[in-house]
């Protein structure tokens, strides 16, 4: 019997505002790097008598996200208390949203091997992050720097059926959040976290199976592997005539397995009710329209435009649009109208520049390269003033120092030697010095040609125009046949 999987995703994304969700403490992107409990105050430590005040900027970014996800925005937002005891939750309740979330009924378009697919988004709401626990030598230590950092929770409809779709959804959503400027999308720092609701049922049956919820998936890899594992686990249970138990599962990265955390009977009654400390936040249409005007082009739309306008390949377009900073960089470079094709520019960005970014652990903005500088450099490369290797060397220096590529070319005398007279003299010298290799060539061993190439390059420290050299070498060698 064939089985179909039904998957829904819950995504928690940290929102990088200046201050926390309900207090004035700064939001630090990577709290793991800080001295513990230094970015805290009476509110986020839940000292007696402290009161929450909603961060309007989070509401604004929530609206922006709601618009990007094509949903219906709630005109009156109610914050609710979600109660449970745990040491990482200082108030004993999380201030979240329940009955009236910021957005409902949205969707996200994803690209799969079967084309574009719409995945429904049931709800989007605002809430706050918890503190971080460290278990050391039988003790538990708590760092409240993370407590109160704003979160958006985005819940999809159970409309995905394959790991491929789950991955595409997660990555597209990440790209959207990065594009909207509310997240850097850095999974390693726990800025985006996933929970997957998974069930399977026989393909012919309409009735959904019992679902499990896999929690704490903190990378695309973990998400994909855990989803795959859980689907297979449930299918083999059903094949063996057993039942799937409704429960919350954890994911053991080392063993590559899901494991049960708690069953439905043990599940919390969160006792949601409207937080009396926070009056309902009204969202007038005017405010929504103001925010709508700030809505940037979303990655998928941008990708389609890049493919159409710049005639880029799918893969390169995808790489460029994943981060709007890179996409903007690409478009600005193209806009400088260097004489080369957008595809060539894309190749340099996704190849050499991506390599440098990864190697130096920098963002594009932290590097010395700018669209005008890249355009200038590639112009020199395209006209043959400098060759491939030299271009890479100069690009690295511009990347590191921000010095104008033309200045470097002049300073180092790196301009390519294309001048025929200079090259003729050089080649003549090399050929005369190696009669044995000439004989080999003339006897049909054409591979010797590239050996001669190497010699010429060595003489010119790589500055000779390779195309030109190859042409001239052939002419010179053929001439020897008759001399």
């Amino acid at each position: 019997m064939k089985y179909e999987a039904v998957i829904g995703l819950e995504v928690h994304a940290q929102v990088h505002t200046r201050t926390k969700m309900y207090c004035g403490c700064p939001v630090i992107e990577d709290t793991g790097q800080l001295e513990p409990n230094t970015y805290v105050c009476p509110v986020c430590l839940a000292l007696p008598g402290a009161l929450p005040v909603v961060n309007r900027r989070v509401v604004e970014l929530g609206i922006l996200t709601g618009l990007a996800l094509n949903g219906t925005l709630q005109p009156v937002n109610v914050f609710a208390r979600k109660s449970y005891f745990y040491p990482d939750l200082p108030k004993g309740y999380q201030i979240s949203q329940y009955e009236l979330p910021l957005m409902t009924n949205g969707y996200l378009e994803i690209e799969t091997s079967n084309g574009i697919k719409k995945i429904g988004i049931t709800r989007l709401h605002m809430e706050e992050d918890t503190a971080k626990l460290y278990h050391e030598a039988g003790k538990t230590l708590i760092d409240f720097n993370r407590a109160g950092i704003p979160l958006l929770e985005i819940v999809s409809a159970p409309e995905m059926h394959t790991v491929e779709e789950v991955k595409a959804y997660a990555m597209t959503l990440r790209d959207v959040l990065v594009t909207l400027g509310l997240s850097t999308g850095d999974m390693e720092k726990g800025q985006i976290r996933f929970e997957a609701n998974i069930s399977v049922h026989p393909e012919k049956s309409q009735k959904l199976g019992t679902r499990t919820e896999v929690k704490n998936l903190n990378s695309f890899r973990a998400l994909a592997k855990a989803t795959d594992y859980e689907i297979q686990r449930q299918i083999s249970l059903l094949r063996d005539g057993e039942m799937v138990i409704q429960q919350t599962m954890g994911w053991d990265e080392q063993q590559g397995k899901t494991y049960p955390q708690r069953s439905k009977e043990e599940s919390h009654d969160y006792r949601y009710f409207p937080d009396p400390d926070i009056p309902p936040v009204e969202i007038p249409t005017l405010w929504i329209e103001e925010i709508r005007n700030q809505l940037p082009e979303l990655p998928l739309a941008k990708k389609q435009r890049f493919i159409k306008t710049y005639r880029l390949g799918h893969y390169d377009a995808q790489l460029l649009v994943a981060d709007y900073v890179i996409a903007d960089f690409f478009e600005e470079t193209v806009g400088r109208r260097p004489n080369l094709s957008p595809q060539d520019i894309a190749n340099w960005i996704t190849g050499e520049i991506f390599r440098l970014l990864k190697e130096r652990q920098l963002t594009l903005k932290e590097s010395g390269i700018t669209p005008p500088k890249l355009a200038k450099l590639l112009q020199l490369w395209h006209t043959g003033t400098i060759n491939n290797n030299v271009t890479k060397v100069i690009l690295a220096e511009v990347f590191n120092t921000g010095i104008d590529p033309e200045v470097i070319v002049k300073r180092e005398g790196l301009a390519q030697i294309s001048d025929a007279q200079t090259l003729n003299t050089l080649i003549d010298g090399v050929i005369t010095a190696h009669p044995q290799q000439v004989t080999q060539y003339l006897h049909g061993k054409h591979a010797v040609l590239s050996w001669f190439m190497g010699q010429v390059m060595k003489e010119t420290q790589g500055k000779a125009n390779p195309k030109e050299v190859q042409n001239l070498l052939r002419i010179h060698l053929e001439q020897r046949r008759f001399s």
Partner: protein, 488 residues
Amino acid sequence: MSTLADLTIHEALDLLDSREISAFELTQAVLSRVAATEDRVHAYLNLDAEGALAQAAKADKERLSGLQAALLGIPIAVKDNISTQGIETTCGSKILKGYIPPFDATAIKHLKDAGAVILGKTNQDEFAMGSSTENSGYGVTHNPWNLDRVPGGSSGGSAAAVSVGEALGALGTDTGGSVRQPAAFCGIVGLRPSYGRISRYGLIAFASSLDQIGPLTRDVEDAALLLSVLAGADPRDSTCRPNPVPTYTEGLDTGIKGLRIGIPTDYLAGQGIQPAVAKALKEALACLEEAGAELVELRLPHTQYGIATYYLIATAEASTNLARFDGVRYGIRIAEEGTLEQMYAQTRGQGLGEEVKRRIMLGTYTLSAGYYDAYYIKAQKVRTLIKQDFDQAFEQVDILVGPTTPTTAFKLGEHITDPLQMYLEDIFTIPPALAGIPCMSVPCGFDAEGLPVGLQFMAPPMEEAQLLKAAYAYEKMTRWNKRRPVLC
């Protein structure tokens, strides 16, 4: 013997301003009174005598240097559920033993900015849950009029202190009557402002949608004076209202001629009102009529649902407000052995008192899946109806008047085994609290045993000026507030 400790705040300010007394002398007089009476009354949990004298000396210097501030050098007591930077704040609970707030409540900041001298922290029912101050984790407070009687609650310590001269004025908090009822029992003035008039920031929450800080004083003018200092918007409290703050002491004496005063008949019939209370009320109404007010009988038909509604909403909110007392970050932690759950159970089991645990359980039940609609949502609907009762009443009249409590101060231990009987004490104070309207209790007589009776005034939302004016006119005609208890 009458001393400086028996002055009202405005009388003391006059003497301070004319340099007839110093703030230091005034604070000393109050501290002497504390020394003389505190062993019998037990109004304070934590008296900061040294700090108070230092503040008083500083106030004297500032006055000499020409500084003018509304309460410069006035000794004030503060209920223990209001956060005071550097002074232990326990909320009357063992679970907060040793907790010293690193910040001042906004109300305390206002007091300090106005130059007040903070005397210390007063006793209360634990987490403000109670009507007798018997639920304190640190012993009971006695009513200065009769030491075998309760002072009322939950702000019993503040009311007793002001009544007996252990402070010139005090801050209390009122969730369902916790300022007005002890004021009535102790023969002083207790004001509960509109919800949102005074910031709740730093007030340790019992029921967030009901809690309000309010002054306890010896006369209406002092209440107006303190309210002017305490009121105003606060960016740290989203429920605090932005309305401008008038100087409430101005225009107090313009009289009540032509004022339409409503008498809710639901506050009279069959509510277990003692004859002495009924008699005092009747006399008070006659007095108001004589002053030129027009009396109108009217109905507040949902009054009877007030207590049930209140105990559903307040306990629901409290069950989550008190979740932060988990032994993890402050206060006591009892972790003799075992798991996290056991640490929670031991800390909360031993740190919280019976009444507090009863209300947490009630509230938890109210919010539970399957009961939420039947209890919490229904209570919210009834709350709306109760609010509408008042809205409709205020279309006909300017002010409402009725008894503050059905009885005078009851005996210590009398209701301790019967929480329901205790809850009934709040039958008249709860509806205006649910409606969020300003209301206050003013002394209106004594029963046969010499126990004070309180008269409750109620006004439309944010109409404190109107409320104070009516209460002031009544007080000026009767002078019940001038009588002070003699400890014996």
